[in-house]
Symmetry: C2
Subunit: 352 residues, 2 copies
DNA sequence: ATTAGCACTCAGAGAGAGTGAGTGCTAACA
DNA sequence: TGTTAGCACTCACTCTCTCTGAGTGCTAAT
C-alpha cells in the first residue's frame, strides 16, 4: 500500500490534530506556522490544508474559521500513534503499585481500575467484571428458591463471589440439589468452572443416573454469562468539563444513555480476540456516541480473555495517552487478577 | 403557638411558592393578582409581599424583579402540605402493581423502586438495600479466604444474597468454620439473623467449647452492617433539566459529589425512628446540597426499619408530590419486602 | 384597609459597529 | 515549479447602546 499522504501533509495533519485535541478550537494556518516543528509560511500551509480538506481529512465550520480534523483524520492519526503510545516507566509503575495495593477482592480491584482509568485520563471509564469461566471453584451452593428455580452462589479464589439464578429442570428435587453441591464441593474445588461441567458429568451419572444430563445443562449457564455481568462506571461527570458538552441538553442525553446501561452491550462487546479497538465518532453504532470515541481493551486471566474495559471521551480525546494507559492497565489488571484467581487451590484454609 | 401569619399572608405565600415551584422565575404582584384564588389588586399584594420580605419569607434577586421564596418559606410550606400530600388511588395502585411484578429478587425490587421514584418525580432517587438483621436465614457458607479472613455468604429468603468479609479470630481453623456453617444450616435455617447469634451460642459451646465466644463475636458483624450496604441511584441526569443547573460547572460538581458517594452517609442517615425527614437547602450538612432539598423516608420489614430511600431535587422541588410518592413507595416497598423476607421458612425446597 | 396612579429600577433582548482570526487568490520570487 | 508575500474578503464574537417590559415603592384618593 503506497503512502496515502506525503510526509509534509502528514506532519501538518498531525499538528492540526494535536492542536485541536488540546484546544478544541479550529486550527488556523498562522497558528501552525508558529510551531517549531513546522517551518513553512502560513500561505504554504494554507495550500496544504486546502488539499487536505479536499481529501476529506479536514473540515471547516465556516469560511473564516480554521480547520478541524474529520473522523478520517483521527483514524489516520490513531493508526500512527498506536505503536508509539507508551507510558513512562514511572507512570506504569504508579498504576501497577496502586492496583496491587487492593489485592484483597476482585470487585475492589475492578473498581480501582475504573477509578484510575478515569482519574488519569479525565474521561469516562467502564470496566467489566471478569468472566467466571476460568476462575477456580472454591465453593458452590445450590439453594432452592422457588419451584423451578435455584440460586447458585459461586465463590472462587480470593473471595470473588457471584450468584446466578438457575432454572431447575423438572424432576430435580431439593435433595438432588443438595447432593450435587456437596459433590461439587468435595470433589471439584480447585477446578476451573469450565472444566467443572465435564468432570462432574460422570460423577453425576453415578449419583443421580438418568437426570445427570439435564443437571449438566442447567450448570452450563454457570460458565456462560447468564447472570448479566456487572461493570463499574466512573467519571461520567468528567464529560461536563469538555466544551463539547457545554450544551446541557447534550450532556443530559449522554448521561441518561449511560445510566440506561444499553451502551455497555456495544462498548464492551467482546471483539473476540482483538486486543484493542478504537471506535471513532459515528463508527459507534449508538447514535448517542456519535461525538465520542470509545477505546476498548480486553484483559486476561492466564492468557485468556475474561473481560474488557473502555474509556469514553470526546472524539478529540487524547488518543495517545488513552491508548497507553489502557494498554498498561490491561497488562496490570491481567497480572493482578491472574495472581489472584489462578493461585493453586489451597487445601481449604490455613490452620495455625 | 399562635398563628405565625394571618390567613391572607399565608395564601399569598403559598401561591408564590406554588408558582415558583412551577416556573423557577421570580413571582410578581400582577401575576398573583391574576390568579383566581387571590382576589386582590397588585398594590395590596405588593404591600403584603413587602411585609413577607421583612419577615424573612421572601427574597428579592434585585429591585425590579419579583420575589422568590426563602428557605424559611419552604419550611412553612412543607409543614402545611405534609398532611394533605396524597396520591390518587390510581397512582398508588400503579406503584403497588409495578413493584409487585418484580417480586423475584430483593435487589431487583430495590432497583425498581429507585427507578420508579425518579421516573415519577423526575428528580434523583436513592434507595438503600435493606438491612439484613431481620431477614430469615436460608443458607450460609463460611469460606476461608486467607489466614485470618473468611467470606460469609448469606442467602436469605427469596434469593437475597450478601457476602461479608469476616475477621477470623486466631485459633479458629478452617475445620471449625466448616463445622459452624453446617451447624447453622442444619439447625438455624429460618431464623432471623439477629436471633441466630444467641441461638447459636449454646450449640457452639457443645461443639467447639471455649472458642464459642470469639466465634459469636465474629458472627455479630453479620447482623450489623459491616459490609457497607449498597444503594441504587437513579436519575442523576434529571437534575440537568432544571434551570438551577443550567450552569454546567454547578451540575458537574453535583454529579461528582454523587459519584463520590459521600452524600449517602448523610442522606440516608437512619434518623432513628423518624418516619420522614425533609431537609431544605442549607439544612443539609453537605455544602454541595445547599441548593437542593432532600426528602428521606424509611421503609420497614415486619414493622421494623431496615432501610431508607430519598429523593434529591432543587429546593423548589414539588414537595407535595414527592412527599406523597415517597410515602406511598415506602408503604408499598415495606409490604413487598415483608412478604418476601418474612414468609415462613419453607422446608428446603419444593419436591415435585 | 384597599386601590389607582405614577415615577423609578433594572435584567434581558436586539441592533450595530468594530475586531481579529481566518481564508482564497494572485503575482512575485528562488 | 514549489514557496511566499500581499491583499481583499468573510464571518463569528464581543462590546456598547438602546429599548422594552416586568416589577417595585410611594402617595393620594376611595
Amino acid at each position: 500500500m503506497t503512502q496515502l499522504l506525503d510526509v509534509r501533509k502528514m506532519n501538518i495533519l498531525r499538528a492540526i490534530v494535536d492542536d485541536y485535541i488540546l484546544t478544541a478550537a479550529p486550527v488556523g494556518s498562522r497558528t501552525l506556522s508558529k510551531r517549531e516543528d513546522i517551518e513553512l509560511s502560513p500561505a504554504t500551509i494554507r495550500n496544504e490544508m486546502s488539499d487536505l480538506t479536499e481529501l476529506g481529512f479536514l473540515e471547516q465550520p465556516h469560511t473564516s474559521a480554521g480547520r478541524i480534523p474529520s473522523e478520517k483524520a483521527y483514524r489516520l492519526y490513531v493508526s500512527n500513534i498506536m505503536d508509539r503510545a507508551k507510558l513512562t516507566d514511572e507512570e506504569a509503575e504508579y498504576i501497577r503499585a496502586h492496583l496491587e495495593r487492593r489485592v484483597s477482592e476482585v470487585g475492589e480491584v475492578i473498581k480501582e481500575t475504573a477509578r484510575m482509568l478515569s482519574g488519569i485520563t479525565k474521561y469516562t471509564s467502564i470496566v467489566q467484571m471478569p468472566h467466571l469461566k476460568n476462575a477456580r471453584l472454591k465453593h458452590i451452593s445450590l439453594i432452592p428458591v422457588t419451584t423451578g428455580t435455584a440460586l447458585a452462589v459461586i465463590v472462587t479464589n480470593s473471595g470473588y463471589t457471584n450468584s446466578i439464578m438457575l432454572d431447575v429442570p423438572s424432576g430435580i428435587t431439593a435433595g438432588h440439589l443438595e447432593k450435587i453441591s456437596s459433590l461439587m464441593n468435595e470433589r471439584l474445588a480447585g477446578y476451573k468452572l469450565v472444566d467443572v461441567q465435564k468432570t462432574l458429568l460422570p460423577l453425576l451419572r453415578e449419583e443421580i443416573g438418568e437426570q445427570a444430563d439435564s443437571v449438566a445443562a442447567m450448570l452450563s449457564s454457570l460458565s456462560e454469562d447468564k447472570g448479566r455481568r456487572g461493570y463499574e462506571v466512573v467519571g461520567a461527570a468528567n464529560m461536563l468539563d469538555y466544551p463539547e458538552y457545554a450544551d446541557v441538553s447534550k450532556a443530559r442525553s449522554f448521561l441518561s444513555e449511560l445510566e440506561r446501561g444499553e451502551i455497555f452491550k456495544e462498548v464492551l462487546s467482546d471483539g473476540s480476540g482483538v486486543e484493542m479497538t478504537v471506535r471513532i465518532g459515528t463508527e459507534n453504532d449508538n447514535p448517542e456516541l456519535k461525538d465520542c470515541s470509545v477505546i476498548t481493551v480486553s484483559y486476561r486471566v492466564g492468557g485468556e480473555q475474561v473481560g474488557s474495559m473502555a474509556v469514553i471521551g470526546p472524539t478529540r480525546m487524547d488518543y495517545e495517552k488513552v491508548v497507553a494507559v489502557l494498554r498498561c492497565m490491561s497488562e496490570s489488571l491481567s497480572n493482578v487478577l491472574s495472581g489472584m484467581l489462578l493461585s493453586e487451590p489451597d487445601a481449604g484454609g490455613s490452620d495455625k
